[in-house]
Subunit: 435 residues, 2 copies
Amino acid sequence: MTTALNTDMYEFTMLRSAVADGTADKAATFEVFARSLRNGNRYGVLAGTGRLLDAIEDYRLDTDTLDWLLDTGIIDPATREWIGDDWTFTGRITGYREGELYFPNSPVLTVSGRFGEAVLLETLILSVLNHDSAVATKAARIRAAAGTRTVIEMGSRRTHEDAAVAAARATAIAGFDATSNLAAARAYGIKAVGTAAHAWTLAHRTEAATFDAQIAALGVDTTLLIDTYDIETGTREAIAAARRAGRTGPGAIRIDSGDLALESKRCRRILDEAGATTTRIVVSGDLDEHTIATLTDAPIDGYGIGTKVVSGLTAPGFVYKLVEIADTNGMRPVSKEAEGKRTVGGRKRAWRETTAHGHAAIEHVATPMGNATPQCVGGELRNLIVELWDGSRTDRSTVADARTVNAAAIAELRDDALAVHPGTPTVLTIVTEPR
Amino acid sequence: MTTALNTDMYEFTMLRSAVADGTADKAATFEVFARSLRNGNRYGVLAGTGRLLDAIEDYRLDTDTLDWLLDTGIIDPATREWIGDDWTFTGRITGYREGELYFPNSPVLTVSGRFGEAVLLETLILSVLNHDSAVATKAARIRAAAGTRTVIEMGSRRTHEDAAVAAARATAIAGFDATSNLAAARAYGIKAVGTAAHAWTLAHRTEAATFDAQIAALGVDTTLLIDTYDIETGTREAIAAARRAGRTGPGAIRIDSGDLALESKRCRRILDEAGATTTRIVVSGDLDEHTIATLTDAPIDGYGIGTKVVSGLTAPGFVYKLVEIADTNGMRPVSKEAEGKRTVGGRKRAWRETTAHGHAAIEHVATPMGNATPQCVGGELRNLIVELWDGSRTDRSTVADARTVNAAAIAELRDDALAVHPGTPTVLTIVTEPR
């Protein structure tokens, strides 16, 4: 399935105008960045890069697609001819590694090529990076709030069925321990988990029959959902069922309703009194970093995170802006001056400066005409931009790689950057403008 | 591409337990409903039904998928055998027509079949209906606020690349006039629009050159984006370019930044003074029903709606609950008692009652053991539930059909239901519980 029509129409009408006046063949550079962080976030997590490279590999303007574009009058014969057959993106893409953090004006992706080919990728690039980074950023905040407790992504039912797969992938990059989503587990090698819903209990006459049947099928290490009728009774029934299977308690119980702080304490006491001290308690129900922060003292072993990590998110506001284009005198930096939407022209380089204590402090972004590599005293300067595509795909980093990148970048943050309440970017961006 | 793994793992582990204890073959009924409307919405718009039926047709448990499920230990050989080869859903699905409104506890979809087959569809059903209905509900509110002005969906870059296609479809159902998304235009026959981005202007030395080239390629009826540098200058350049092409003004100008109320008035005056009285003004930039409500007096002809109709939305909270299952005495209604999550058992019927003035007033939801068809005096009673699948797909309603259903249902609402500020459901749901 080609991704070529996962786009705004204006990319093709711009190409049409550009073919007509010769702009299509000019060398051009586009940059992806966000003007600010949203919702008082102190950092953003870049995610989607690997999925984007997959999508660009799947971007095919086959005869069928081109015929449709011609028949509808979106492109004209000259544009059809310019595109040719077997179109693939032959330009160059560089960018931050997937999982890396970003701050206002971080040049997270740079696309160079002929204007006509680079413009076609705009919508696809922004869709993937905006969606996946929104999820990964939220997930990183939740991961930090949960500390060492297990965090499981289970939001599939609250978002589009394919967005769900990308969301599970993004939460894995941000350090979640597992997902409920099987397509993501299969495609990206993420650990999948799941046992039963309330329907399973309702399908039986009693919780005893429910739990006996589940333990018989899935083993006594399974997680029993104990809140269909009454949480205390459910917990006692779970213990009784485990005992009938020869153990003091099941692997875990899950509470999906009620006051989770109170209920988890009550369940823990019942479990401990019955000797089921190793039975884990997993809770779920509209959780995010804010609710998790209120549960740090509760005897909880794992969180199931659904709605709040896949929906209701503010997109990071990544934009794709032309920053330079070929002119008679070589590459000309360009910038926009619309109110509140000013941009800085020119292809950028970027480094993150850490202090002598190893804390991320400054994001240096430089245009070619700006200063050379910035100097820093005592700390270190880390280049942020790597090659991803050069004529064809050159980067094949995995989800596991991105997870490692993310963990390392998060580890560089000062502790206060991980607070859950709204704040300001924890790293200061310094853009060196042309002199 | 099969949709079978677009699911939470627990559907398959439940099936495994259910195969082991015989529950898998029991006749069962599941119901989709929302406990409440979100964000103070006065109504919800059901969308996704047609796309869901497509997805259920694409749900195939092929050998490859089954081997993976077996190899990972998610299912066991007995479950593999129960599923068999060439699995398709052979049960029955009924529900509200796509585009219909819903209120708290409206039974928007009912799935009957063997427990084992109906349980497998849960996640897919909820993903599609939650996502598409969230977008359609927001879009209907925006459509109402915009009155007779043109509304264009252009949010693709702010959401997952495939969710974008579904979102464009949902906004068309809710009455939007066009979309920027080409995949949606092609798949669903929705009108696509688009001309150029700021990059097109930046790629040229002057706005004059930009607009001349665009008019040469796309015709003088095109929409010129006039806010790259200065809105007033851009407007005058747009008029000048149209004049060079022999017309008093271009088809439209678009303003994508600044104070849209002020700028649209300024642009209108400049256009009118130049005789370009038929040039339309289209505005965009983080618009939703609330910002549109502040622009009713501005001389605006069309709104481009992006971020706010595709992202940051609260999912409707549709759930998929077992409401009855076969027992020795026939079908047994079942219900859950968890705190704040109580359900009503039994297969439901539903009617919407309109007053003598034709206004929607009451949503009657009845269980089989409840009252018979409710009586109403003076008004009318409209059955809400139609057949969608009976062994195989029986409903092939189009996006155009759903749009018609939606327009008719919205037309039944009292005027105050279309207010943009938060309120309560405009139709009262009366659930007749078993006596």
